[in-house]
């Protein structure tokens, strides 16, 4: 253990002096600068021009003056068209123009640096051709917060061993013969790590939300048959309420919809609005019948990946206790990445983990594996084991993936400051603060919480989204830029994901390039932090 940590120290912790343990108090101030009027104006104009051109080009295509690129439907006549034409208007005319910024294939470990497969297009992004070359870039795009994406080292050795001893799959569901000793070990380690009574793990993070929320707030089970194997009478009763944050992830929205409960959405992180909704809902009861609600579930995320904001956990817990609701916390991006000991937002806000009823998270981001988990009290987890769609019908997790998570958990459970686990957590915290501070001081409009590992800088218009992406790629930096529909129409942005494996030199290089490109695209227009050149922002 000591040998590997020394080895790691030499490799990526040469800037050990910059990695201070996180000791400051959790912060409540998040900054959302108002959109400058000029930016909003130009963005709307941008969309108007795109629409006009799109309409014109569609006209040409319909009149066969221009060739229809993209695959054509070759179904026999009489069939209703598979897609509505207006659904694909946006795809054909806006998305297709900047399609080279997305779905970029990589050819290496998604670590601190990335090898992109070079691809060119001969026909304006309708099709791509690989040249066979590779472009080495600094990777600020992958969700590799603690830097565990490695293809060598002791963890990779463990994974290779487990492929040899346990195979790649048990080819059976969890409730039949898919449970291996590794799965039980993973669940007990996870419960220890999070401080809960029990935990259960699934093979896919998206499915964890979509398939388990219905078992908690499901609708009445009308098709109960006496031949059923499940001896437990499932008391799913109609009349549950879900209060979900505006910016919740698609998997949470899908899970809420599939459950059949009534859904009310409150403004992002607005605790006053949430309290008003809670009061009104309890007072007026269910719609039409005015019966009392059976349960109320508040669904929030730990870190919102598009905004970079944190949920206000202490206030949420207070509200939840006052109104006797249940809290579902999705820590997809925050587990391992936030908190003094890396135990997520509960650790960061120094709250009691028993106050959160259902803790959910994924293994894709900080653990560099795949899958999701739910943790909480033992009777909750027992109920999920019995009724989860995933436990009954989906193949259990693959053993090498489980081994990766178990090895990472072992490192993270180690509280010694000198050892790798804590070093990585501290490094990530330092990287996140450093990068955000310098970026803000350089005049970029940055959203989100000062301590979150996700740093979104605003671009506003769709053309800048494409331009920023391409310019940074030319300079050897891979970034993620997003626009509508993942963000509001006017608020396109670039989202930097920090990692513990980034060194200070890499971050400085990225910041220098960002300064150049920011000037080229006229992005550094923050009024709160007037723009300053890079060398002046060191502090």
């Amino acid at each position: 253990m000591a040998k590997t940590s020394a080895h790691q120290k030499n490799k990526s912790y040469s800037n050990a002096v910059y990695a201070t343990p996180v000791s400051e108090h959790p912060s409540l101030d998040e900054v959302y600068e108002v959109t400058p009027f000029s930016e909003a104006f130009w963005t709307y104009l941008n969309y108007v021009i795109l629409n006009i051109f799109g309409w014109f080009r569609d006209l040409l295509r319909n009149a066969r003056i221009e060739n229809r690129k993209g695959s054509a439907e070759n179904n026999p006549p009489g069939f209703v068209p598979l897609y509505q034409s207006y659904e694909s208007f946006y795809t054909r005319n806006v998305y297709q123009r900047i399609a080279d910024c997305f779905n970029r294939p990589i050819g290496s470990v998604p670590g601190a640096t990335l090898d992109l497969l070079e691809r060119v297009t001969d026909d304006y992004n309708w099709s791509f051709r690989f040249t066979g070359g590779k472009v080495k870039t600094i990777n600020l795009a992958s969700y590799n917060y603690l830097g565990f994406a490695n293809n060598s080292g002791p963890i990779a050795e463990n994974v290779i061993n487990s492929i040899k001893t346990s195979g790649l799959t048990a080819a059976s569901t969890t409730q039949e013969f898919g449970t291996l000793t590794q799965h039980r070990k993973l669940e007990s380690l996870l419960a220890e790590y999070l401080g809960t009574e029990d935990a259960i793990a699934f093979g896919m993070g998206f499915a964890t939300n979509a398939l388990n929320i219905p078992t908690l707030v499901g609708k009445k089970n009308d098709s109960f048959q006496s031949l059923a194997i499940n001896k437990t009478k499932l008391l799913y009763l109609k009349g549950c309420l879900i209060l979900s944050d505006e910016l919740n992830h698609a998997s949470l929205v899908l899970g809420a919809r599939l459950s059949g409960a009534v859904i009310k959405v409150y403004k992002h992180n607005d605790m006053n609005h949430l309290e008003r909704l809670l009061r009104e809902s309890i007072i007026s009861g269910q719609p039409r019948t005015h019966r009392m609600w059976k349960k109320i579930l508040i669904i929030v995320e730990g870190v919102y990946s598009m905004e970079g904001s944190l949920c206000k956990l202490p206030e949420l817990i207070e509200l939840k206790k006052k109104y006797r609701a249940y809290l579902y916390l999705d820590e997809a991006h925050s587990i391992g990445a936030m908190g003094l000991r890396g135990r997520g937002v509960v650790d960061y806000w120094k709250c009691d983990v028993n106050d959160v009823d259902i803790l959910m998270g994924t293994f894709t981001k900080s653990f560099a594996a795949a899958g999701g988990y739910i943790a909480g009290k033992k009777d909750l987890i027992d109920h999920i084991r019995v009724t989860s769609h995933s436990a009954a019908y989906a193949t259990s997790m693959s053993p090498p993936v489980v081994e990766q998570i178990v090895s990472v958990l072992n490192l993270l459970l180690d509280n010694d400051e000198e050892h790798e686990g804590r070093q990585r957590i501290n490094q990530l915290a330092w990287n996140a603060r450093y990068f955000r501070q310098r970026l803000t001081k350089m005049g970029f409009i940055v959203y989100g919480h000062p301590h979150s590992p996700v740093v979104p800088a605003l671009l506003y218009s769709p053309s800048k989204i494409a331009a920023f992406n391409r310019e940074m790629l030319k300079r050897g930096v891979a970034v993620v830029t997003v626009g509508f529909p993942a963000t509001p129409l006017v608020l396109g942005r670039v989202r930097f994901c920090l990692s513990a494996s980034h060194t200070k030199e890499m971050l400085d290089e990225v910041l220098k390039h960002a300064e150049e490109v920011g000037d080229l695209l006229n992005m550094r227009k923050s009024k709160l932090n007037p723009k300053r050149p890079f060398h002046e922002t060191e502090s």
Partner: protein
């Protein structure tokens, strides 16, 4: 001056009044009655009707009381500690042709390991190489640097294997078909779904919010009846009918029943009633057809007539994940609108590498693997038919069979006893597990899965044990 004007006024008033009285004499009787009635009503409304009480708003105190009184249900209902899901067998080692339970080895007829690729050393090697090149996780969704070249290779290979234009892979078998259906079928579209489809398809159908018409399992006449009804409905409103899409959702080989779908007739009906076919071949991929290309190969139907074939990499291929193949026009749509594809991390590269190697092996072995499997399935079917007291459900060439006890003895408890007894004799089988809220819960059964590497003696042994078990249980 004034007085004469006044006098004129009074005079005109008098004449008006007089003419009014005259007109009264001339009105019909009923008119008069009606006017009197109206006047009386107005008087009653004004004088005698009680005013409606306006509902007063709740006071703050009352609101607070309501909030204080409200008590939620417990988050989860109590669960029986003896439930089988809470007492699963925990295994160790490779779950291949044989499993080790409590130190004893037993033959495995319970896991979906049709072609015995679990633990295959060639596949394991390729997976190890992938770990050494790419690490374990892909750390991102497909849209944001999560697309690894090995994913593209797997998609190409799958498309090539099925002789289709394009393929797309998902990272989880369950969410493959559950994401595909809502991507195409929206709120007012019509889905014709077989009642016996497995749970993932049911969830996909639910998530799409379309109008669902269930037809009896494998009953073509029921389907034709529904189609005819829909046709009549369409003719009444042709304008609306032109905007409604129709889909037929079926499985190649049904996991809950083990029988094949009557595909040729369904394709005929497709061109007659103009719907699209989405077929889920999770179980039939690698097991049916001479080279394992599924039900379309078995029936010798052109794969271009099926709009989309979805399947799973978790059964025959021995990896994790799912995929779909079809024409580029159909498959490409999923890259932007299938939720399980866009919003989820991509498949770990080691599992993709394993799937590619499995495809290599399948292509090398060409017909030998699947032919052997179909032969053995037929033999097993004949042997099982010889045992008295069991009802075998499923096609004879299907490697997945359901076993039930005859008549009213078929209960879960008895089947569990059979499973226990078989375990003591060294045969691992399982009772098929379902959740309560299946749309059409199948009857309790034991799900038998044939591994291609089982020898004849082992199959004989299985039948012997099943016979003994039945005798023991029904005594």
């Amino acid at each position: 001056m004034g007085s004469s004007a006044n006098q004129d006024n009074v005079a005109s008033l008098a004449t008006d009044f007089y003419s009014l009285l005259e007109s009264f004499k001339e009105t019909p009787f009923y008119h008069l009655l009606f006017e009197i009635f109206l006047v009386l009503t107005v008087l009653w409304l004004i004088l005698f009707r009680k005013p409606r009480r306006i509902e007063k708003k709740l006071t703050e105190k009352e609101k607070q009381e309501l909030i204080d009184e409200w008590q939620p249900e417990p988050l989860v209902p109590p669960v029986d500690a003896n439930h089988p899901a809470l007492n699963v067998r925990v295994l160790d080692g490779i779950v291949g042709k044989t499993i080790e339970i409590d130190g004893k080895k037993s033959l495995n007829f319970a896991t979906f390991n049709f072609l015995n690729f679990v633990g295959n050393p060639r596949i394991a090697d390729k997976a190890i190489q992938a770990v050494q090149k790419y690490g374990v996780g892909s750390c991102g969704p497909r849209g944001f640097y999560g697309t690894i070249d090995i994913h593209l290779e797997l998609e190409e290979r799958l498309a090539h294997f099925f002789n289709c234009e394009e393929g797309i892979i998902y990272s989880y078998g369950f969410s493959t078909v559950a994401s595909i259906i809502p991507a195409y079928s929206k709120r007012n579209d019509i889905l014709f779904v077989d009642e016996g489809v497995h749970y993932a398809i049911q969830k996909g159908v639910e998530a799409s919010r379309s109008t669902v018409k269930w037809f009896r399992h494998n009953d073509i006449s029921d389907l034709e009846r529904l189609l005819a009804e829909q046709d009549i409905h369409d003719k009444k409103n042709p304008k609306k009918a032109r905007t409604l899409r129709r889909f037929l959702i079926i499985e190649g080989l049904y996991m809950n029943y083990g029988d094949l779908c009557p595909l040729p007739r369904m394709v005929e009906l497709k061109y007659q009633y103009k719907y699209r076919i989405f077929m889920d071949e999770s179980v039939s991929f690698g097991t049916i057809g001479q080279t394992g290309r599924g039900v379309t190969e078995y029936y010798n139907i052109d794969r271009r007539k099926i709009d989309l074939i979805s399947s799973s990499l978790e059964y025959s291929v021995g990896s994790i994940g799912g995929f779909a193949v079809g024409s580029s026009f159909v498959v490409d749509h999923q890259r932007l609108s299938a939720q399980g594809y866009c919003f989820s991390a991509s498949l770990p590269p080691l599992l993709a590498a394993a799937a590619i190697e499995a495809l290599n092996i399948m292509e090398e072995k060409d017909t030998t693997l699947c032919d052997t499997l179909m032969e053995k399935s037929k033999r097993l079917h004949r042997k099982l038919l010889d045992i008295k007291g069991y009802l075998i459900v499923g096609e004879d060439i299907s490697p997945l069979k359901h076993l039930r006890l005859t008549n009213s003895q078929n209960t879960v408890a008895r089947l569990e006893e059979i499973v226990e007894f078989a375990q003591t004799r060294g045969i691992t089988i399982t009772v098929a597990r379902y959740l309560n809220d299946e749309h059409h819960l199948p009857e309790p059964s034991i799900r038998l899965i044939l591994n291609v590497e089982m020898t004849d003696e082992e199959l004989e042994f299985l039948c012997t044990v099943l016979q003994e078990a039945r005798v023991k249980v029904t005594v």
